[in-house]
């Protein structure tokens, strides 16, 4: 199973790279509304995802591994979502990378993402550390 998830990761990293998500300039141009390459990429992924989820739901397909009914339950609302999502966006724009593309950029040898990567661990750790933060988000 682990090689199977590894293969999915390899596909994901490959497509992020081909889609331009490992190019810092596309983040600047996206948020200055100059070149919407990344917006088209995300929109296309969502559009195909919508159709795929509909087909899976209507066919009643079970997962190929484990033969479970597929869980279409979305991530729940939580009180920290609005603040957290906004803060995430600020970090996304400043760093020119997201938690997935940062790993892809590292694979391409873009060393400028190293402090961003350290920050991602630090921010995740701060969340796990603070009972106040956890209480706030539950």
């Amino acid at each position: 199973m682990r090689f199977f998830y590894l293969a999915f990761g390899i596909g994901f990293g490959f497509l992020l790279s081909r889609g331009g998500a490992t190019n810092f300039d596309f983040y600047v141009q996206l948020f200055l509304f100059q070149d919407l390459q990344l917006l088209w990429m995300i929109s296309a992924a969502v559009a195909v995802g919508l159709i795929g989820v509909m087909l899976l739901k209507h066919s009643g397909a079970h997962s190929l591994v484990g033969r479970q009914p597929i869980d279409f339950q979305g991530r729940p609302y939580r009180s920290g979502l609005i603040l957290g999502a906004f803060l995430f966006g600020i970090g996304w724009g400043l760093a020119g990378a997201c938690p997935g593309s940062v790993l892809a950029m590292l694979g391409e040898g873009k060393l400028a993402v190293l402090p961003t990567l350290a920050g991602l661990v630090l921010g995740t750790w701060l969340y796990g550390l603070s009972p106040i933060v956890r209480k706030f988000s539950n």
Binding site: A45, G52, S63, I90
Partner: protein, 161 residues
């Protein structure tokens, strides 16, 4: 230079990958939780050491390990090259490498903390959450874009002054 496909093509294939992961393994594609693994070596991160966390997220570790390999394959046409450049960001971020590093460390921290507060990142909330027509994911996705726009507009305007 790594070749770039049209956003529509790369995005459609990303959508197919997301659906394939649902179908094969009943898993919602999302990466940000993987950073909890790195927290296991830090003090006071009890919740990331729990058996429950490990059981639910072990797959993300393998998924996360694959990402740099895939990106390397995509760009290996001209061999691996290490670069420290940041393209257009060079004009706007501080020039001093230590100061720039601190800004990026803060940016990463905002993303790490923000993703946990929001319950997902660009992949978990947007790429796999929005297709479920899950309202919290749509809201989070919209706010990701609002935050990014504010940050880049301010950063590039201030740097022009």
């Amino acid at each position: 230079m790594t070749p770039v496909w049209s956003g529509w093509l790369a995005g459609s294939l990303l959508g197919l990958l997301t659906i394939a992961l649902y179908w094969f393994a009943n898993k919602q594609l999302g990466i940000s939780t993987v950073y909890g693994y790195a927290c296991q070596v830090l003090p006071g991160a009890g919740s990331f050491r729990s058996e429950e966390f490990r059981r639910n997220n072990r797959w993300r570790l393998w998924f996360g390990l694959g990402i740099p390999v895939g990106a390397l394959l995509a760009s290996s046409g001209d061999g691996v090259s290490f670069t420290t450049g940041m393209g257009l960001y060079e004009q706007a971020l501080p020039e001093h490498p230590v100061v720039r590093g601190l800004v990026l460390l803060c940016a990463g921290t905002l993303m790490g903390l923000g993703a946990r507060l929001a319950g997902g990142c660009t992949s978990g909330h947007v790429i796999s959450g929005v297709p479920l027509m899950n309202r919290p994911s749509v809201l989070a996705g919209a706010l990701f874009f609002v935050g990014g726009t504010v940050a880049v507009q301010v950063l590039f305007r201030v740097s022009q002054v």
